[in-house]
């Protein structure tokens, strides 16, 4: 403690002297992510894009209410919620399987925030806002699958893990939700949701794994 610190007993706890905190929303990868090239030079084999500012809600069926939850999801999104490990895209949301009788709703702009979803699922499911609890990393590029093979025991070959496939699994001893999004520029896109407090650790592991292929690092607000 520095000499200038005021003994706490002299700080008035009522009134204006109490420090006012301002809570800023920032990405768990704010510090670790350095946009630009990384690793081997030349054409980058892996593109890493962190997606920021998304809405993420976990929907879990209450005991014995799975069919009611499925009906509520159908009414809300116009599609059946995933009942097996896969992701389902709607016009303004992605539904991602996260375990038996549960799934994530990933969206942007508040249309499917927890407040917006709560009335429709009242009584059938428990909702949990994970928007600020996860980091979302999008992985693509010619070497994306080769790089992921070092981290994951899941077979990501397109014959097995096609567009829309999903898995609740682990990478580097860290639980992740992995799913394959729509191809971009003829290349597979793998999306990774990881707990916010583990994001930096996994990020460095991913960078280490990808360095030999050359990496392009960026962040985006677009899902």
């Amino acid at each position: 403690m520095s000499n200038s610190a005021i003994p706490s007993s002299t700080i008035p706890m009522e009134g204006s002297s109490v420090a006012e905190f301002s809570w800023e929303v920032r990405s768990p990868l704010d510090r670790a992510l350095v946009a630009g090239p990384y690793g081997a030079q030349g054409d980058a084999g892996v593109a890493l894009t962190e997606i920021r500012n998304f809405d993420l809600v976990q929907v879990m069926a209450r005991r014995g209410k799975a069919s009611e939850m499925a009906q509520a999801a159908q009414a809300r999104f116009g599609v059946a919620a995933p009942e097996t490990p896969k992701s389902i895209g709607t016009s303004d949301a992605t539904l991602i399987w996260s375990g038996p009788d549960q799934f994530f709703v990933l969206s942007k702009g508040g249309k499917h925030s927890i407040e917006a979803l709560a009335p429709g699922f009242a009584g059938s499911a428990s909702l949990s806002d994970q928007s600020h609890a996860r980091a979302l990393i999008s992985i693509s590029g010619m070497k994306a699958r080769t790089m992921l093979a070092k981290l994951s025991s899941i077979d990501l070959h397109p014959d097995v893990f096609g567009v829309g496939a999903a898995a609740a699994t682990s990478m580097d001893h860290t639980s992740v939700t992995l799913w394959r999004g729509q191809d971009r520029g003829g290349q597979a896109v793998f999306n990774l949701l990881v707990f916010a407090t583990f994001a930096e650790s996994l990020w460095h592991t991913v960078l280490d794994s990808a360095a030999e292929y050359g990496v392009t690092i960026s962040h985006s607000e677009e899902l």
Partner: protein, 91 residues
């Protein structure tokens, strides 16, 4: 060793946590001290096929009942444990 999770498919052992024998059933509240002692402490040390509880903690977080041969590690059946998946209970 790999376990075929009924929800996720075949996964490596590292994604699972072993709980133990799936046979003991919690005794009724009035069953007496001996039954509770048996339930909490006494286990059979089976050399052969037994039912075990495993937890898919690094995957779908479901509890599983695995039928495994402790001599060969051969797994002959995997099913959701009671309560795994809210729909499986009280439906």
């Amino acid at each position: 060793m790999r376990i075929v999770c009924p929800f996720c498919g075949e996964r490596e052992l590292g994604e699972f946590t072993y709980l133990g024998d799936a046979k003991p059933q919690r005794p009724a509240a009035d069953a007496g001290e001996e039954a509770v002692y048996d339930y909490v402490y006494l286990r059979d040390n089976i050399a052969g096929v037994m039912n075990e509880h495993w937890y898919h903690g690094a995957g779908c977080r479901a509890w599983l009942k695995v039928t495994r041969n402790t001599l060969t590690h051969e797994i002959s059946a995997v099913e959701p444990a009671a309560g795994a998946g809210a729909a499986k209970v009280g439906a």
